[in-house]
């Protein structure tokens, strides 16, 4: 993980922050560093701990998904006065059956991933549970884009 870009703007008192992170395929050694950075950023901004925990869990699950299932990708943290938005956009290979992927317990993870404690098929449903709004766009051969919104 490295912070790819940081953008802080304060217009007439309106807070707008965007951070983007690059995530490499199968980079388990750095797994969790994006979510950890997001959590620390929110804590510095004085966001309530209930929201921070929901964002942290959803970010961590999202980050793990990009590491485990994609060819690599980017994650974005956007904060304004009304909401926090987490976006993940990967470089494929896309999800064949999004409806199945949203089912608890369904997973395409390998046994190697399961040995690490992941791939239980709880990731996407857990992200949705944490969020106030959740969108996923994916199809086989294309990018997967996940948008997770938390109201402030």
């Amino acid at each position: 993980m490295h912070v790819d870009n940081m953008l802080f703007t304060f217009e007439k008192g309106a807070r707008k922050i965007q951070l983007s992170y690059v995530i490499a395929k199968n980079d388990f050694s750095k797994a969790g560093t994006v979510a950890s950075n997001i959590k620390k950023t929110l804590r510095k901004l004085g966001i309530s701990s209930d929201i921070i925990k929901r964002v942290a869990v959803a970010s961590y699950e999202t980050e793990m998904n990009v590491i485990i299932h994609s060819h690599g990708g980017k994650m974005y943290l956007r904060i304004d006065l009304e909401k926090i938005t987490i976006i993940a956009e990967d470089e494929g290979p896309g999800i064949e059956d999004v409806e199945m992927a949203m089912k608890e317990g369904y997973s395409t993870a390998t046994s190697q991933i399961r040995e690490l404690g992941f791939g239980a098929g709880m990731g996407l449903p857990n992200i949705k549970r944490c969020a106030d709004d959740f969108e996923i766009n994916s199809s086989l051969g294309n990018s997967t884009i996940i948008k997770v919104v938390f109201n402030l």
Binding site: A35, E61, G117
Partner: protein, 118 residues
């Protein structure tokens, strides 16, 4: 119950976080799947697991879990300890198996953590 007392009753060795042993624990969650650990409601919760890798510590960090117990004599690698130290999480290891460890804690008033529902 204080972590200090938990350490005694489950006969555990503290690997890092000695200075946090006065922290109080009310509930516990025992699992080997991190996706499961990410679904409960943290309430002064102790995480018991037989899985040993740095991802356990990351999971604990995300959940605001202050202490992790590795069961059946498992010892984490240096990287795992280093990360726990950095974040400020207590790490213990015990020879007890997960079932025994959970049973001892339950008998001493520690309740199971609730699942988070929204």
């Amino acid at each position: 119950m204080k972590l200090r007392d938990i350490q005694k009753i489950i006969n555990a060795k503290v690997l890092t976080g000695e200075k946090y042993l006065d922290n109080v624990i009310k509930t516990a969650f025992a699992c080997d799947l991190m996706s499961d650990a990410l679904t409960f409601k943290e309430d002064k919760t102790l995480l018991l697991t037989g899985l040993v890798n740095p991802h356990i510590i990351r999971t604990a960090e995300m959940m605001d879990i202050s202490a992790v117990v590795f069961v059946r004599g498992k010892e984490p690698d240096e990287e795992t300890i280093k990360l726990a130290k950095e974040i400020g999480i207590v790490v213990m290891t015990t020879e007890n198996i997960l079932f025994t460890c959970s049973g001892i804690l339950f008998m001493n008033g520690i309740k199971g953590a609730e699942l988070a529902r929204r």
